[in-house]
């Protein structure tokens, strides 16, 4: 016993070393599926406040260019609305229907305005922190978009801050379709340029041309259909040759991201509940089949 205590006392720092390393590895490997680790990411309050203070300062520096872009975008959208409403009026000759339709479309979503407080571009797995959390109604798996297009999906929500997995993350997986043609695929990113991503699993028989717009498909129960993602830049064959792989020029400028909004869509929540209920009801059937098979 005496020898044992002496041994422990002599090598105590090595035990401490092993304990600390094990603790670090636990943090490292459990981060991805461990929701409690919100404390050790930038979704926690202290880091959020610190990042917000610095981003307030830096946002002044890029205010001019940002304003210009927003105004341009605004003009573009206004023009689009005018064009579309005139088309609709031509078709229906009914201006009351027009107003009703737009109200209806807007009332479906609740948009939560948020500011980006930290952001990165050049890692294999980038993350964005925004300054809205569960108290503002942000929940896990909500979609995030900005004026130019899609940004990403909320991954963790703290009380006042949330971490978003942007398109620029190897784990990001957003269901998208080609606008007007409705073929769909999954948007992935695997490092490299911050304005390019790839749309995988587009069928061989799909018809499209370079420059076609890619929008969210609405299948993923995160984004409503029709949020802009980007334009087709190149077409490649997939590795197995069974589908196309489209290089997509992203419309969102991730290097210059300040204002985003989180999309809280009541109908999406309902959709997700229905899917979950369906999955739950299939499970007992599968289990039954499995036991019968044995």
């Amino acid at each position: 016993m005496h020898n044992l205590t002496e041994f422990l006392a002599k090598y105590k720092h090595w035990f401490l070393f092993v304990a600390l390393e094990v603790l670090s590895m636990v943090l490292l490997f459990r981060f991805n599926d461990y929701q409690g680790s919100v404390w050790f990411t930038s979704a926690n309050y202290v880091t959020g406040v610190a990042y917000e203070a610095t981003s307030k300062v830096t946002s002044y520096l890029s205010m001019g260019a940002l304003n210009e872009k927003l105004t341009k975008r605004n003009v573009e959208l206004e023009q689009q609305v005018r064009e579309l409403s005139s088309k609709l009026y031509d078709k229906t000759k009914d201006s009351i229907y027009l107003q009703k339709g737009q109200y209806h479309f807007l009332s479906k979503f609740r948009l939560i305005q948020a500011k980006v407080v930290s952001n990165s571009l050049d890692r294999p797995d980038n993350f964005i922190t925004i300054n809205k959390g569960t108290w503002d109604g942000v929940r896990k798996d909500m979609g995030v978009a900005c004026g130019n297009g899609v940004v990403g999906i909320v991954y963790m929500a703290g009380i006042h801050y949330a971490v978003v997995i942007p398109v620029l993350n190897s784990k990001s997986n957003i269901s998208c379709s080609i606008q007007g043609r409705n073929y769909f695929g999954y948007l992935h990113w695997n490092g490299g340029a911050s304005n390019m991503a790839y749309l995988d699993d587009v069928p061989r028989h799909a018809k499209f041309k370079l420059g076609d717009r890619i929008v969210t498909s609405g299948y993923s129960s995160v984004f409503p259909a029709g949020v802009l993602v980007g334009k087709i830049k190149h077409v490649y064959n997939s590795e197995d040759g069974l589908s196309y792989r489209l290089a997509v020029q992203l419309s969102t400028d991730f290097g210059n991201l300040r204002d985003v909004c989180v999309i809280d869509d009541a109908s999406i929540r309902e959709q997700r509940q229905v899917i979950k209920a369906a999955q739950d009801s299939i499970k007992p059937l599968e289990e039954q089949n499995a036991t019968q098979g044995q």
Binding site: K12, H13, L16, F17, L20, E21, L23, S24, M25, V26, L27, L28, F29, F31, S37, W39, F40, T41, S42, N44, T47, A50, Y51, T54, D122, R123, P124, D125, F127, V163, S170, G191
Partner: protein, 166 residues
Amino acid sequence: MNIDFLKRLLWFTVLIVVQVFVLNHIHLFAVATPLLYIYFILQLHRNYPQWASMLWGFFMGVVIDTFSNTPGVAAGALTLIAAVQPFVLQPFIPRDSSDDFQPGMDTLGVPQYTWYASILTFIYNVVFFSLEMFSFFNVLEWLECVIGSSLLTLILILVVENVRRR
């Protein structure tokens, strides 16, 4: 709570603030990020209690990780170099120097100090980037990051040490 502890705490805070708000945003040629905070470990004097240096390293790593969304990466790597620092320092210490010999450019001389700093910097970068890219391994990218960041970190450490000496 002695003056030595407070001094270290000040360095601890300053290095973290500088790293998180300035240096983390530098990515020279998209590969090299200066990781200046390991300067804290380089400063530990001879016979500094090992349990204390490892705890310093670990907590510094946890704070850095928390700010840069890389849980466990810097914490693990910093704990490791805090553990090996005495062994790296040992061969460089001149004969009949005091028990609490402080490694620095003025005490070791410039070439010796550069060697000492570069060995620890290199070990740290290898471990750090290996852990960071665990799920996304690309040998060439890893090598570029390790070499680029090691060089940049080393240059920055030598500059800081040089300025501090005067």
